[in-house]
Amino acid sequence: MTETTTGATRATTPTAIQMSGVTVEFADPLGGTKQVLKGIDLTVPAGQFIALVGKSGCGKTTLLNMVAALVRPTTGTVTVGGETPKAARRNLGFMLARDALLPWRTAQGNVEYGLELRGVPKQERRETARRWLEAVHLGGSERLWPWQLSQGMRQRVALARTWALDPDVLLMDEPFAALDVTTRVAVQEEFLRLWQSEQHKTVIFVTHDLGEAIALADRVVLLGEGRVLYDVEVGLERPRDLQTVAGEPRYQEIYNQLRSSI
């Protein structure tokens, strides 16, 4: 497989995502405003896998939505690959806790959905989709409807859908939260394998699970009350074995640090 440095060591790689002095306010439905992000400065080098953790309501999803151009910063700037988030959308992949599969499309159709919206011709679309379903070990299940898939298979289809667009930047909002423990580990492994198998994509991965954050990411950022409370390089070597990574001392160390600051 490819080289496995952590993102942090490549100080010279180009910047994928850049936030400077970002605040986000929402109009409070009862009048007034509520500041959700209170001055975020964050630089994500291209190819880095960054995990975002923090208490519920601390603004993780808001931050992600900002990168996806679903929320505009009140002050400050956000650039994605040097462009505005809106312009950068074509290089963006997005994955959510609930798989968000369209129930009226087969596995194949769901993987094709993004390609279809972008006007990729039918033949190419079909082949790409098939290739990515193979890649997530769902070859042969192309023609099944979402209800015929288990939760783990569904999330793997969502994975294929995201990957089929070949995005430079991947935004994932608790993508595995809805899975039961066994399936979860399997899909995490699948995901890590995909990510490691090619030129690394930049990933922002939101999760509630500290263990998952440390085991998967190059760098863990802890948000709290709209600020970055903690920003740490994981520094565990890749490829990682998810079964055993929890035993490593570095894992335990970061875990305890995060646990105490949360």
């Binding site: 996806a68 151009a69 679903l70 959308r89 074509r90 963006l92 997005f94 959510l96 609930r98 968000a100 369209l102 129930p103 009226w104 499309r105 087969t106 959905y113 993004g114 279809e116 919206l117 972008r118 042969g140 299940s141 023609r143 099944l144 409807w145 979402p146 209800w147 015929q148 898939l149 288990s150 939760q151 298979m153 667009l165």
Partner: protein, 290 residues
């Protein structure tokens, strides 16, 4: 069978495995065979019921339980039916009725579905106009007949218009309810993937609303028939309703019965057609029970 869920009437497999095999495998074909066998049983029972009902009708006529004007036998109705088939009277009038049913159903369904989806997307507009819709829907259509005739004349157009006023509201409320079940995550995802408004409508809203629209379409088809026939009963040049009206005014109830039964058969066939179309279009839905 060892399983007993004594007090229960619905028994669902309690370990519904999430992964179902694709359609082609042997278990699936066996399941289909089973389904076919059950269908045969159902059909047999239906035939039995039908025979029993005709028998009852015959007895009612024989025993003169009804007034002589109303009490006609199945045989008398059959005689009319055969005669009317031969004279072509039934065929031309059925054609006239069905043409109006189809036109009104298609038209009102299209408009109703679009308006319903629009209202589902615009909750404030919906809140404002929904009492007006309720009010309009509560208008007794028979009382409006004179206005329809002035506006559309006596003919196809008036029938279609009257039936449309029924079907429109039924399909509209189905579509409106359907859009409500849109998952906001689908919209978020589509937005990030760069979907245009048109793409959102065709690729998300319409499929989402389809099951509910279908429920409306099925009921709407029955009401299209009711509306057209009702309109023909009041005033028309042709059509089954018009036939009923004239036989009814001559107290030839055997003919009226025969035509009503024909209508019932048409309704059942139309409904069956809808079920088939629905099953195919909604094959992506998990079956309620297997």
């Amino acid at each position: 069978m060892t399983r007993e869920l004594e007090e229960m009437t619905i028994t669902a497999p309690d370990n519904a495995t999430p992964v179902r095999e694709p359609r082609r495998d042997p278990a699936e074909t066996a399941r289909r065979k089973l389904a076919r066998r059950q269908t045969t049983k159902v059909r047999a029972l239906q035939a039995l019921l039908l025979v029993a009902w005709i028998g009852l009708w015959q007895v009612t006529a024989d025993q003169e339980w009804l007034d002589p004007v109303l009490g006609k036998s199945p045989g008398q109705s059959w005689d009319y039916f055969v005669g009317a088939i031969e004279s072509g009277e039934l065929w031309t009038n059925t054609k006239a009725t069905m043409a109006a049913v189809v036109v009104s159903w298609v038209l009102a369904s299209l408009v109703g579905a679009v308006c319903g989806i629009a209202l589902g997307l615009l909750p404030t507009v919906e809140r404002v106009i929904s009492p007006f819709l309720d009010a309009a829907n509560a208008m007794p259509r028979i009382a409006l007949a004179p206005m329809f005739i002035v506006a559309f004349g006596i003919g196809m157009t008036a029938k279609v218009a009257l039936a449309c006023t029924l079907v429109f509201f039924i399909v509209l409320s189905g579509a409106r309810a359907g859009v409500r079940s849109t998952d906001s995550e689908w919209l978020r995802l589509s937005a990030v993937l760069g979907a245009t408004k048109l793409q959102l409508f065709w690729k998300i809203m319409l499929p989402v609303a389809t099951p509910a629209i279908f429920a409306g379409l099925r009921l709407g088809l029955i009401y299209a028939l009711l509306g057209v026939v009702g309109s023909e009963l009041i005033s028309a040049k042709d059509g089954l309703g018009q036939l009923i009206a004239s036989y009814s005014s001559l107290f030839q109830m055997e003919a009226v019965y025969a035509i009503l039964i024909l209508l019932a058969i048409v309704a059942v066939l139309l409904n069956q057609l809808m079920v088939t179309a629905e099953r195919w279009l909604l094959r992506w839905q998990a079956p309620a029970d297997v």
